[in-house]
């Protein structure tokens, strides 16, 4: 990584310098209306090479899974095989256009049709829609489907959505978007959903439950079938958040356990680009009850030909055209490369890696819920008075690692949420564990090293409070 501080483009500016030469105008010049003119337009004036160097140096500061380990819990920052990119770059995929019509798009439609079928099989569902453009978009689709299902039955009383406190963080926002009221269900001592609290919350005003399994504690919800039955018996439906599917592919099918609708993060489990770039894909799959309610159009096969069609009682379109098609090609490629045995091994290795790392650090970084974890685990960073998880996270940067997710889930104090994924070697896991243990040692012997970290980055510890309370959003010379 390029660690030199980089000036702002404004600081590289010199009056009169220019990076572009415009041709003589070939239309008559006209004066702009008086009211639209101003004396001052503070834009940087830079020559082309200075601009190229500026942006190239900035790009060299990128931290990515292609350069370093990225154990960001809940995000599944796994390696994206380059074969995905090769496949998505094939001219047939790259140059296709959604307005070309089914007649000229049989290949693209067949890929979508097959991908829908694969995800339906992986999740244990009946039908799928590739429309949603990201995970939260998929959640929105699922909860809109649940709302429409109740409304179509004339049941307008159901306005509450139950959300366990170990659920994926975006779930309550989804409920607000749909106009549902969120009711939080606490966890029991074992980190699972408190069944007594769930039963007490269920009545004829409950539309359903949004459940993440494995949960954000990295724990498998062993009572998932009981939970689904309780909710169904009370007239509600079950939404499954697929954020943590990486732990269970080829082993456990949410649809078989009674989940009515679930979104899949293709950008997590199925190795498509992730993070700030994306774009993502949060396609949804549904079981018997909600299959007709999917957003559309979805790919269908009729008389040996492929086409797009709207589901019967569907919630309609969520996105222009057919979802993020280039992402779908990457996910399809990945699933075909792995095959069914590979998908199972993916989950087994993700869980093994997380448990290996957990075993190496848990004596020093205590766990609130101690049982065996799935693809991630949540440790606590409050073992030395005066040292916080934030300090540990910042110090990890000095050791060349991206910090894990911190302070989430909220039910674990000073949380460090660590997800190594299946694509890391034992050597990388060892190096990361060594860094965590070394930092714990430093927390006791030289805490100021942690408080002032990071030391090796272009800028040191940022004042997050000042940044949030009084952000400066414009260059001020």
């Amino acid at each position: 990584m390029n660690l030199r501080p980089e000036p702002l483009a404004y600081e590289l500016s010199a009056p009169g310098r220019c990076g572009a030469a415009l041709p003589e105008p070939d239309v008559p010049e006209t004066a702009l209306p008086e009211g639209l003119l101003r004396d001052d337009l503070p834009l940087p004036e830079i020559d082309e090479l200075t601009a190229v160097r500026h942006f190239t140096r900035l790009s060299q500061k990128n931290y990515s899974i292609d350069t370093e380990f990225y154990p960001l819990g809940s995000c599944t920052m796994k390696y994206n095989p380059k074969a995905n990119e090769a496949a998505a770059s094939l001219p047939g995929w790259r140059t296709t256009h959604p307005l070309a019509g089914a007649e000229f798009s049989q290949g693209a439609l067949e890929l979508m049709y097959r991908l829908q079928a694969m995800l339906v099989e992986i999740g244990g569902f009946k039908a799928a829609s590739l429309q949603p453009a990201a995970g939260a978009h998929g959640e929105l689709a699922g909860v809109l489907m649940i709302r429409k299902w109740h409304r179509d039955r004339g049941d307008l009383k159901r306005v509450k959505m139950l959300i366990p406190d170990s659920a994926h963080g975006t779930n309550p926002a989804t409920c607000s978007m749909v106009g549902f009221e969120t009711v939080t269900i606490p966890s029991d001592a074992d980190g699972g959903v408190d069944l007594a609290a769930l039963a007490a919350a269920l009545d004829d005003t409950v539309a359903g439950i949004m459940i993440t399994n494995p949960s954000t504690l990295g724990l498998f919800e062993r009572n998932i079938e009981k939970i689904a039955k309780l909710v169904h018996d009370a007239g509600g439906l079950v939404y499954g958040d697929g954020a943590n599917l990486n732990a269970i592919t080829g082993i456990f099918r949410p649809g078989d356990a009674g989940i009515d609708v679930m979104h899949f993060n293709l950008h997590k489990t199925f190795s498509t680009p992730h993070g700030g770039g994306g774009p993502g894909s949060g396609m949804v799959a549904a079981g018997e009850r909600l299959a007709d309610y999917l957003p559309g159009p979805i790919a269908v096969k009729k008389d040996g030909r492929f086409d797009m069609a709207m589901p019967k009682a569907g919630i309609g379109r969520l996105k222009a055209f057919h979802g993020n098609f280039g992402v779908l090609v990457r996910a399809y490629t990945y699933i075909r490369m792995l095959g069914a045995p590979g998908l199972r091994r993916l989950a087994e290795t993700a869980v093994l890696n997380a448990n290996y790392l957990k075993a190496k650090v848990e004596k020093v970084y205590p766990l609130k819920y101690g049982r065996g974890c799935m693809h991630e685990f949540v440790a606590m960073g409050n073992f030395v008075e005066g040292v916080h998880t934030l300090d540990i996270a910042k110090r990890l940067i000095d050791y060349g690692f991206h910090p894990p997710t911190i302070y989430f889930p909220l039910i674990v104090p000073e949380a460090l949420m660590i997800e190594p994924t299946e694509t890391e070697t034992r050597e990388t896991l060892d190096a990361f564990a060594d860094a965590l243990l070394k930092i714990a040692e430093e927390a006791r012997t030289e805490p100021e090293l942690l408080h002032s970290a990071p030391h090796v980055t272009p800028v040191g510890r940022l004042d997050e409070v000042a940044a949030a309370r009084c952000p400066i959003l414009c260059y001020r010379g």
Partner: protein, 127 residues
């Protein structure tokens, strides 16, 4: 952990104190300590009536955003506008200048169901 002995508490770390016919509410010292530096508070509309346990706002720190719950049902009479410009009073003086809302209680007997200062202190210390 600082405790205001004159206040009563909810397990979700809100305190409530009688002020004439009104109830004034904020978050406990334990809560502000766990949240860290507060950067934003979202208030309810004055005049809105909320039930006991309903969300009356959101408090955001650099670590997390948390819902705020009504210790008793009531009609919002005032919100602490001064926190809009600088919410740091919640960290510095959570039982005083860092108060969040004042409301007219719908059912004054709900007061009796709140945790006493001693019981809350025990509960919060166990976390």
């Amino acid at each position: 952990m600082k405790i205001d002995a004159a206040a009563r508490y909810r397990s979700s770390h809100e305190w409530a104190r009688k002020e004439g016919s009104l109830i004034v509410t904020g978050i406990s010292d334990h809560a502000q300590e766990s949240l860290g530096d507060i950067v934003f508070v979202e208030f309810p509309e004055v005049g809105k009536t909320l039930k006991q346990g309903e969300t009356f706002g959101v408090i955001e720190s650099v670590k997390a955003a948390s819902d705020l719950y009504m210790p008793m049902g009531g009609k919002i009479a005032a919100v602490n506008e001064a926190l809009g410009g600088d919410p740091s009073a919640v960290n510095k003086d959570c039982y005083g200048a860092g108060w969040l809302i004042k409301f007219e209680p719908t059912n004054p007997s709900e007061w009796d169901g709140l945790l006493s200062a001693g019981d809350y202190e025990k509960e919060a210390a166990a976390h």
